[in-house]
């Protein structure tokens, strides 16, 4: 039986990377005693799929993973045992069975809705920079990885941005909707970094970013 969990990668665990989250979930499922099926082969692994990776630093309010279980255990009992086995910062929101005919998860993801929280910027300044960004036909950005630099066009991925709102002194919060295209997407930090060329002076590393939800087809 395949089950899908809607869980939260909360504020306290925002600094975990995707692999760390997977490791934490795997340990929690074992503590919870879930009958997770193991893969075949030389080094069997539990059949768990953690979807739509979040980068280090980004929290997620409604994230998804699937687990393949042997037998047909009671969903309510599974949910209770997992909820009490998760480390602080994680929470289980929903748990439901998934049929075999479902399309692959990543193909159904259309976009992510993020909230971006920045300090030391004027709402007006960010509004202007975002307007310029949205008017541009392409916004090339260099993603620097340890062994390569990859240039991506951020523009088509940014589906929309909300009105920047003041959230206390010197603090601005805005929504950002970013597309997923067959598993490919871009990071909100990159978008903020790219706003430098449109006149915004903000350190993207200081932005606090949460994925509020994943939007499906």
């Amino acid at each position: 039986m395949r089950v899908r969990a809607v869980y939260e990668k909360g504020d306290r665990v925002r600094f975990l990377g995707h692999l760390d989250v997977g490791r934490c979930l795997k340990l929690a499922l074992r503590r919870a005693g879930w009958p997770v099926e193991m893969s075949q082969g030389f080094s069997p692994k539990p059949k768990i799929s953690v979807y739509a990776p979040l980068p280090v630093g980004v929290a997620g309010h409604r994230e998804y993973f699937d687990a393949v279980l042997s037998g047909r255990p009671d969903i309510g009992a599974l949910a209770r045992t997992l909820a009490s086995s998760l480390p602080e910062g994680f929470a289980l929101h929903e748990l439901y069975p998934v049929g075999d005919g479902e399309p692959p998860f990543e193909e159904t993801v259309k976009a992510s809705l993020y909230s971006v929280d920045m300090e030391g910027v004027e709402p007006e300044a960010i509004r202007r920079a975002l307007d310029a960004f949205l008017k541009a036909s392409q916004v090339l950005f260099d993603v620097v990885r340890p062994n390569e630099v990859k240039t991506v066009d951020l523009r088509p991925f940014v589906l929309g941005v909300g009105e920047p709102e003041e959230a206390g002194a010197d603090r601005v919060v805005l929504d950002m909707t970013i597309a997923h295209d067959k598993g490919r997407t871009v990071r909100p930090q990159w978008v903020i970094a790219s706003l430098a060329e449109f006149g915004l002076n903000a350190d993207p590393r200081e932005a606090i970013i949460d994925r509020r939800k994943i939007i499906f087809e």
């Binding site: 504020d11 600094f15 975990l16």
Partner: protein
């Protein structure tokens, strides 16, 4: 104060692996620091992933937090980017659990596992807002203590640490926090606290000793303080039995993978093999085994609590455990999820076919064996009592159990080593490869070689280390002999071994060089990509220290060492006898075989070898 969570999280995007600094581990203990008598910061002078894997720290953390008058929190050495961030923001080094500055704790206790972490200790004190030198600390500052193997020869740190805790920490740390609590309630002076601590068995307070240097060596002599004198010799604390000792069966589980990402159960402490280079083998005597039922119970408990599917049965030489096969097979069998079992530090002699097969069925990685030396003569000299046939048989068992990747640990630069001895390492590795090939495998034999560093409290404490240039020549010799498919050569940085050799047998004068190196920015000296040898060379020069005199000098028999006032329980006369036997390539047996070797600890310390299952240990022979 330390940073608030909101302030911290806005900055952590600037550092590598920020999860190192945020805690939140399942099973971490967070008490109200204001409501306890003693707030204790357990400080590990290396990065988070290394520190959280350290079993000794887990033990101390769980014992301290089990006391209702103590709250123990953790702090690790921040990576260089985080150190810079702390400085940029004007934040002090803070504890993981409550995010409060190091300086606000009553006691800061460092774990001393390795000499090349010493500059990190100074950095942590400094970042934590604590004066570096013990003499500059007053009543408002924490008591700075340190324990672990390096505390048995701690003079290079004597200027910076108020008190050293020697030996097994389980009972000692409780004694220390009790003395501290009573002293704090009375509101007596800091000097009074130090005197009281010096009265606890196993505590060495360096400021109560004067260092006397003459033609016989360097000795620490208790000062006369208005009639008070600390003990002339401080004895290491020794737990009589591991069976009754507390064990962290519900350890905290890090959210990012530690370097040893699995459950751990200590199956015995101490080692009876008596390898002459090995400090741990001398420092943790006598052997005390846990009962197999207890091992099994603890392993299941940790597995259940953690969610791990692998447990490591740890000790200095796990295959020597009296019930190793039983313990492994029980864990493999009973667990319906099929826990994997790993054994660190496998000896090649007691490694049996059965054990290889058992582990092979669950092993994911290769197998590591430690013959330590390539020639029989050299293995006899270091008392690694294993024959070439035994090594080859062990390799054959491993290949037949399904392993194809075998890693071999060796040392070079051992006392009396010739080029032939070095080349024998390559010959042994080639023979193992041949065995693998004959069995139809495509074997990989990895030869990992480190430079020998003479350590205090061992039979080789009188021996010189080999200087880096000569060590490098021997590395090249070996590398040239190890070319070919299926053979890999790895070696440690020779300069690092040299620095370690200086501090391992250092005296109090080295404190000045250590501080100078810290001021020049030296950190993470054990990390080959971080250590700055030029800065160290300057530090030695400026403070008038001749490092070669510490590292490469052979000591005469009657020299008084800077650690002679700290007793491990193994007598110096025994160590010298072992050293003399080494010169003749004569071996000494393991006292678990039934005959006392006369190292002295059982008689002098009133302890005994404890073997599981009611097996009889050696009867102590007085007067040997």
């Amino acid at each position: 104060m330390g940073p608030s969570w909101d302030d911290l999280k806005r900055q952590l995007g600037k550092v590598e692996k920020p999860a190192r600094y945020v805690g939140g581990e399942l099973g971490a203990v967070r008490k109200d620091l204001a409501s306890v008598d003693v707030a204790f910061a357990l400080a590990f002078p290396d990065v988070y992933e290394v520190g959280v894997s350290h079993l000794g720290s887990l033990i101390i953390y769980s014992i301290l937090n089990s006391l209702d008058f103590v709250a123990c929190e953790r702090v690790y050495m921040p990576w260089t980017d985080m150190e810079q961030l702390l400085k940029d923001k004007g934040w002090p080094l803070f504890s993981i659990e409550s995010r409060v500055p190091l300086a606000s704790f009553d006691i800061v206790g460092f774990s001393l596992q390795y000499e090349l972490t010493y500059t990190n200790i100074l950095a942590m004190l400094d970042l934590g807002g604590i004066p570096l030198r013990a003499e500059d600390r007053g009543d408002s500052h924490p008591l700075v203590i340190a324990g672990g193997p390096c505390a048995m020869a701690p003079e290079p740190l004597a200027d910076f640490v108020d008190a050293f805790a020697l030996g097994d920490g389980e009972e000692l740390v409780v004694d220390i926090v009790r003395v501290y609590r009573d002293w704090k309630k009375e509101g007596a002076s800091r000097r009074e606290l130090l005197k009281r601590l010096a009265g606890v068995e196993g505590v060495y307070v360096p400021s109560l000793y004067e260092v006397v240097r003459d033609e016989t060596g360097t000795r620490a002599v208790p000062k006369d303080l208005d009639g008070f004198r600390a003990p002339p010799v401080v004895r290491r604390r020794v737990l009589k039995s591991l069976e009754d000792a507390p064990y962290p069966d519900k350890p905290f589980i890090p959210l990012i993978p530690p370097i040893h990402d699995r459950a751990m159960v200590e199956i015995f402490r101490g080692c009876g093999q008596g390898c002459r280079f090995c400090q741990a083998g001398m420092l943790y005597r006598p052997v005390r085994e846990r009962e197999p039922e207890t091992v099994d119970k603890l392993a299941r408990e940790v597995l259940k609590h953690s969610g791990y599917d692998e447990v490591s049965l740890v000790s200095l030489s796990s295959a020597d455990y009296g019930f190793i096969k039983e313990a492994v097979s029980r864990l493999l069998r009973k667990d319906p999820c099929g826990a994997r079992v790993s054994l660190p530090s496998l000896r090649v002699d007691s490694f049996s076919v059965g054990l290889a097969e058992m582990l092979g069925s669950s092993a994911t990685s290769g197998l590591t064996l430690a013959p330590e030396a390539g020639s029989q003569r050299m293995r006899d000299a270091i008392n690694k009592r294993v024959t070439e046939e035994e090594v080859l048989e062990a390799a054959e068992s491993a290949f037949s159990a399904g392993y194809s990747h075998i890693k071999l640990y060796f040392m070079i630069g051992l006392p009396g080593e010739t080029d032939e001895d070095v080349l024998d390492i390559a010959r042994l590795a080639s023979r193992i490869r041949e065995i693998g090939r004959k069995m139809g495998k495509r074997p990989t034999v990895v030869v990992s070689v480190s430079g020998f560093v003479p350590k205090p409290h061992t039979p080789f404490q009188w021996e010189p280390a080999v200087p880096p240039d000569e060590l490098k020549r021997r590395q090249r010799l070996l590398r040239n002999a190890l070319r070919g498919p299926g053979l890999e050569f790895r070696y440690h940085d020779a300069e690092l071994s040299a620095l370690e050799a200086v501090f391992a047998r250092g005296d109090r004068r080295l404190g000045a060089a250590l501080e100078a190196a810290f001021r020049k920015g030296c950190r993470f000296d054990a990390w080959p990509d971080q250590v700055r040898f030029e800065a160290w060379a300057e530090a030695f020069r400026e403070t008038g220290i001749d490092p070669a005199g510490y590292a490469y000098r052979e000591r005469p028999r009657d020299e008084v060492f800077p650690w002679d006032h700290l007793s491990s329980g193994v007598r110096k006369a025994f160590l010298w006898r072992e050293r003399e036997k080494s010169r003749e390539a004569l071996t000494t047996w393991d006292c678990r075989e039934g005959r006392c070797t006369g190292c002295g600890i059982c008689g002098d310390f009133g302890v005994a070898v404890r073997l599981a299952g009611g097996r009889k240990g050696p009867s102590f022979e007085a007067g040997r």
